[in-house]
C-alpha cells in the first residue's frame, strides 16, 4: 500500500524509514503547492499533480507550521502556560499522563503552569506520583465546570474565563495547550481544503486527542503530524510517528465483511452513495454501477436496506441458507464463560467444528434480537454468563436473563421451539459443567 506524505519536514526521513519497515511504500510530495486536488477515500486517495496522478491508501500531512503559539518565543513575560483538558469534550483518560508529563517538563524549566481539567483522574498506576511531582514543582491544578476562551487577535493573548458554578476567574496567557487542537503549516487553508478537513479559526485542525494520538483527524485515513510545542520536539515527534505508523498498519489489515454491489442489478441511482455514513460507496463509471470501497466500509448494512434494486448485500454473511443440524452458537461472558471454555478446549476437539463461540465483555450486551438472528444460522444458541452476584458489570447477568426470556417469548410467538435457546450461569472454575452442557446440546 502506498502512503502519501504531504509537506516539508525535518522528520520526513524518519517517517519514510518507519513506513518502509512496516512494508508500506512512502510517496513524498514536498511542495504542497504542486498538488492540484485530492479525491477519494481511505484505501484509494487519488492525488493529482500537474504531471501525474498517484493512488495512495493513506495520507500523512507533515507540513510544519511556520507560525504557531510558540512556547519558546513569547515566554518570559510573567504569563503562565495553560494546559487545558476536557474541552470541548471530555478527554480520554489516558491523556492525563501525557498532560502531566508535559506540565512537569514545563514546570521544570521554571515556567508557571496551570493545569485545568473538569475531572481529576487518579486511576492508572504511577499517576499519583506524577501528581505529586507536579505539585512539588509548583503546577497549579484547577478544576472547572465551564470554560470560555477568547483570543485577542492584535496581541495574541488568550483570555480564559473559568467557572465552577460558584466563582469565576479569568486567566490571560500566550501559551495555551489544548487537548484537542494542533496547528497546521504555512498555508493551512489550502491543505485543509484539499483534504476536506475542518479548521477552527483558520488555524487549527480539530482532532480529539492531541497528547497521545495526536495525528488522528476527523477523516479516516488522513493523518496529520504537524509540529509540537518545541520543548521536547524530537521525543514527541517520534511518538507521533510511531502512533501514525501503527494506526496505518491497523488500516492495512483485510476487512472480512463489507458491502458488495451486484453491477447487473444496480440501477446507478446513487441512493446508497447518499445514505452511506462512511463514504464507502463510489460510482464506477466503467460498469455504470456503484462500487464499494472496502477499506472504508464498516458493514453497517444501511446500503442494503435503502437499495431499491436489492443490488447490495454484505459479503461474508450468507443469508437464508438455513442452519446445519447440531450446530451451536455460544455467547460467553469474558469473566467466566471464556476462561472456563479455555480450560476445556482440548477435551472438546471432536465437537469444535459444530460450535461457534463469540465472546462478549458482559452478558448484559446480549440482546434478544441478536439471539433470534443467530438462530437463522445455528440450530441452538447457548448464552453463558456469571453466577448471580458475581457479575463485574452491575448485574449484567440479570439483564441477559431478561433478554433471554424475551427472546423465548419471541420464539414462542413465531411458533418455534424455545428449547433451541439455552441459558446457563457458571463461574470460570466450573468448566466441566459447561462441557457437559455443550455436549448435550451438540449431541
Amino acid at each position: 500500500m502506498k502512503v502519501a506524505i504531504l509537506g516539508k519536514s525535518r522528520f520526513n526521513g524518519i517517517l519514510k524509514e518507519q513506513l518502509s519497515e512496516e512494508g508500506l511504500i512512502p510517496v513524498l510530495f514536498e511542495n504542497t503547492d504542486e498538488i492540484k486536488s485530492i479525491s477519494g477515500e481511505i484505501g484509494q486517495f487519488r492525488i493529482k499533480t500537474q504531471k501525474e496522478t498517484t493512488v495512495a491508501g493513506c495520507v500523512i500531512v507533515t507540513e510544519e507550521p511556520t507560525e504557531f503559539v510558540g512556547l519558546d518565543t513569547i515566554f518570559d513575560n510573567g504569563l503562565p502556560v495553560v494546559i487545558l483538558l476536557d474541552d470541548p469534550e471530555e478527554s480520554p483518560a489516558y491523556m492525563t499522563e501525557a498532560a502531566l508529563v508535559k506540565a512537569i517538563k514545563l514546570a521544570g524549566k521554571r515556567k508557571k503552569v496551570l493545569y485545568l481539567s473538569k475531572f481529576v483522574r487518579t486511576s492508572g498506576s504511577g499517576l499519583e506520583n506524577l501528581y505529586k511531582e507536579a505539585r512539588n514543582l509548583g503546577v497549579v491544578f484547577v478544576r472547572y465546570g465551564k470554560v470560555d476562551i477568547n483570543r485577542d487577535n492584535d496581541t495574541g493573548i488568550f483570555n480564559i474565563r473559568l467557572t465552577d458554578g460558584y466563582d469565576e476567574i479569568g486567566i490571560d496567557t500566550f501559551a495555551l495547550i489544548r487537548a484537542g487542537e494542533a496547528a497546521i503549516g504555512s498555508n493551512p487553508g489550502r491543505i485543509a481544503k484539499l483534504l476536506n478537513l475542518k479548521l477552527d479559526e483558520d488555524r487549527y485542525v480539530s482532532g480529539n486527542s492531541y497528547f497521545l494520538s495526536p495525528s488522528l483527524t476527523s477523516r479516516n485515513g488522513v493523518f496529520f503530524l504537524g509540529s509540537t510545542s518545541a520543548s521536547n520536539l524530537e521525543e514527541e515527534m517520534l511518538r507521533k510517528i510511531r502512533f501514525t505508523t501503527s494506526a496505518i498498519r491497523a488500516e492495512k489489515g483485510e476487512h472480512t465483511e463489507f458491502a458488495e454491489v451486484d453491477p447487473g442489478k444496480c440501477a446507478f441511482c446513487y441512493t446508497c452513495y447518499r445514505a452511506c455514513p462512511h463514504a464507502a460507496m463510489a460510482p464506477d463509471y466503467e460498469n455504470s454501477a456503484m462500487k464499494n470501497l472496502n477499506k472504508a466500509c464498516q458493514a453497517c448494512g444501511i446500503c442494503v436496506s435503502v437499495c431499491p434494486a436489492y443490488a447490495v448485500k454484505i459479503s461474508g454473511r450468507n443469508v437464508g441458507s438455513g442452519f446445519a443440524p447440531n450446530t451451536l452458537k455460544v455467547y460467553s461472558c469474558k469473566n467466566s464463560g471464556e476462561i472456563a471454555l479455555g480450560k476445556i478446549t482440548g477435551e472438546m476437539a471432536d465437537v469444535y467444528s459444530k460450535i461457534s463461540v463469540s465472546t462478549v465483555s458482559c452478558g448484559g450486551e446480549i440482546t434478544a434480537e441478536k439471539i433470534v438472528d443467530e438462530l437463522k444460522y445455528y440450530e441452538k444458541v447457548l448464552c453463558v454468563t456469571c453466577m448471580d452476584d458475581a457479575c463485574r458489570h452491575h448485574e449484567g447477568n440479570k439483564r441477559s436473563r431478561l433478554q433471554i426470556s424475551r427472546a423465548k417469548e419471541m420464539l414462542k410467538a413465531a411458533g418455534l421451539d424455545e428449547n433451541r435457546l439455552v441459558y446457563m450461569q457458571v463461574s470460570h472454575a466450573m468448566p466441566y459443567i459447561l462441557k457437559d452442557c455443550i455436549r448435550d446440546l451438540v449431541g
Binding site: S125, N335, S336, C386, M387, D388, A390, A429, M430, I433
Partner: protein, 340 residues
C-alpha cells in the same frame, strides 16, 4: 537498564505481583519449584451454589494464562533457590534447575512469595486421607470441587457429611497455636454447595469456635439451611464403612458415636517447608509459628514478602497485598527515575 524483579514462588501472590510489574514495564523472573505456575489456588474449585458465594477465586480468573504468555515474564520451573548475594538494588541469585546450577544478576528487588503448606502434607499423625474411604482432607475436597459436574461433587449421593474444623490450627501439639483464618470460610461454603446438590444429606460441623463465621447473620443463615453445628472436638475418628466419629455430647458428659458417609477434615495453613531456609538466605525473621516477617521494610532491604509466606491469608487478602507490594516497587522505581 531495565528494572528486574525476582519472584520466589509462582502462586497467586507471585503471579499477581508479576503481572502488575510486567504490565508496567518491569522485567520479571519467577522461580517456581513445581512444573507449572499457579500454586495451590490453581487446583481450587469454585464454591458457588446457585449464586456466587464470594470465595474470591474469581480474582485469579485468567491470571495463569496471562502470566504464562506475557513477554516480560520469565518462568523458571522446577527450580530451587540456592543463594542470594548482593544488597538492595543489585542482587545476584543462584538457583538450581533442570539445566544445572545457574545465576541471575542485576536484580533490583526480590519478592518472596513461597506460599504455605496444607496441614495434611506436613502432618505426622496417623490419619490417612482417602477419598474412597470417605475421609477427605480440605485439599482433596477442593480437587473434587474443581472437577464438579452437573450431577454434583461425588459419584453417589452421600447421606451424611461431617466437617471437623480446626485440623492443624489452634493446636499447640501441632506447633500451630494460631487460627488459620481461611478454614471456616471454605468449609462453610463447601457445606452450602453440598446442601445445594444433596438437600437430603445431613451436614454436621464439629467446631471449637467459628472465628470468621460467627460475626453477623451468616451462621443463622447456615443453620436455617439445615446445617448443624456441634461445639466439641471429636474424641476419635474410626475409618470404616461407614466412618464413625466418637464425640462428647455438649451439655452432657456422655460420649456418643455417630456414623457418617463422608468426613471432611478442614485443614489449616502451615508455613512453607523451606521457610526457614528462605529466611536465612534473604535475611528475614521467622516468627514463633514459622511464618516469615520482615526485619526492616522492603523499601530498605529490597526484599518484599507477599502472600501466605507471612501468615495465613484469604485469597482476596493475598491478591490485594501482592498488588500493593508490586505498586510499592513501581512507585520506588518512578522516584528513582528508573527507565520504564
Amino acid at each position: 537498564m531495565n528494572h528486574r524483579t525476582l519472584i520466589i514462588g509462582g502462586g497467586l501472590a507471585g503471579c499477581t505481583a508479576a503481572l502488575e510489574l510486567a504490565n508496567n514495564g518491569c522485567e520479571v523472573t519467577i522461580l517456581e519449584k513445581s512444573d507449572r505456575i499457579g500454586g495451590k489456588v490453581r487446583q481450587y474449585g469454585c464454591k458457588a451454589a446457585g449464586r456466587c458465594n464470594n470465595c474470591g477465586l474469581c480474582l485469579a480468573g485468567d491470571l495463569w494464562n496471562q502470566v504464562e504468555n506475557h513477554g516480560k515474564i520469565t518462568i523458571i520451573i522446577g527450580s530451587r533457590l540456592i543463594d542470594v548475594l548482593g544488597s538492595k538494588g543489585d542482587f545476584s541469585v543462584i538457583y538450581k534447575s533442570g539445566k544445572g546450577v545457574l545465576s541471575l544478576d542485576r536484580i533490583q528487588d526480590i519478592i518472596v512469595a513461597a506460599g504455605f503448606e496444607e496441614f495434611s502434607t506436613v502432618s505426622s499423625s496417623s490419619l490417612e486421607f482417602n477419598t474412597e474411604d470417605g475421609i477427605i482432607s480440605g485439599h482433596q475436597m477442593e480437587g473434587l470441587f474443581s472437577r464438579r459436574t452437573n450431577d454434583g461433587i461425588f459419584t453417589g449421593s452421600p447421606g451424611s457429611i461431617a466437617f471437623i474444623q480446626c485440623l492443624g490450627s489452634r493446636d499447640v501439639r501441632e506447633k500451630a497455636a494460631y487460627c488459620s483464618r481461611v478454614c471456616c470460610g471454605y468449609s462453610t461454603r463447601m457445606a452450602r454447595v453440598l446442601k445445594y446438590y444433596y438437600p437430603e444429606a445431613e451436614i454436621v460441623f464439629f467446631y471449637m469456635d467459628l472465628q470468621w463465621v460467627e460475626a453477623g447473620e451468616y451462621l443463622d443463615r447456615l443453620e436455617n439451611e439445615g446445617i448443624k453445628f456441634i461445639r466439641c472436638r471429636p474424641v476419635k475418628i474410626k475409618a470404616g464403612k461407614p466412618n464413625r466419629i466418637q464425640f462428647e455430647q455438649p451439655g452432657t458428659a456422655a460420649v456418643v458415636e455417630k456414623d457418617f458417609d463422608i468426613i471432611v477434615l478442614t485443614e489449616g495453613i502451615h508455613p512453607a517447608e523451606n521457610a526457614e531456609r528462605l529466611a536465612e538466605l534473604c535475611m528475614l525473621k521467622v516468627d514463633k509459628s514459622g511464618f516469615l516477617k520482615n526485619v526492616k521494610g522492603g523499601e530498605h532491604t529490597g526484599i518484599y514478602l507477599a502472600g501466605c509466606i507471612s501468615g495465613p491469608k484469604r485469597i482476596e487478602e493475598v491478591y490485594s497485598e501482592s498488588l500493593a507490594v508490586a505498586r510499592v516497587i513501581l512507585g520506588r522505581k518512578a522516584n528513582d527515575g528508573g527507565s520504564l
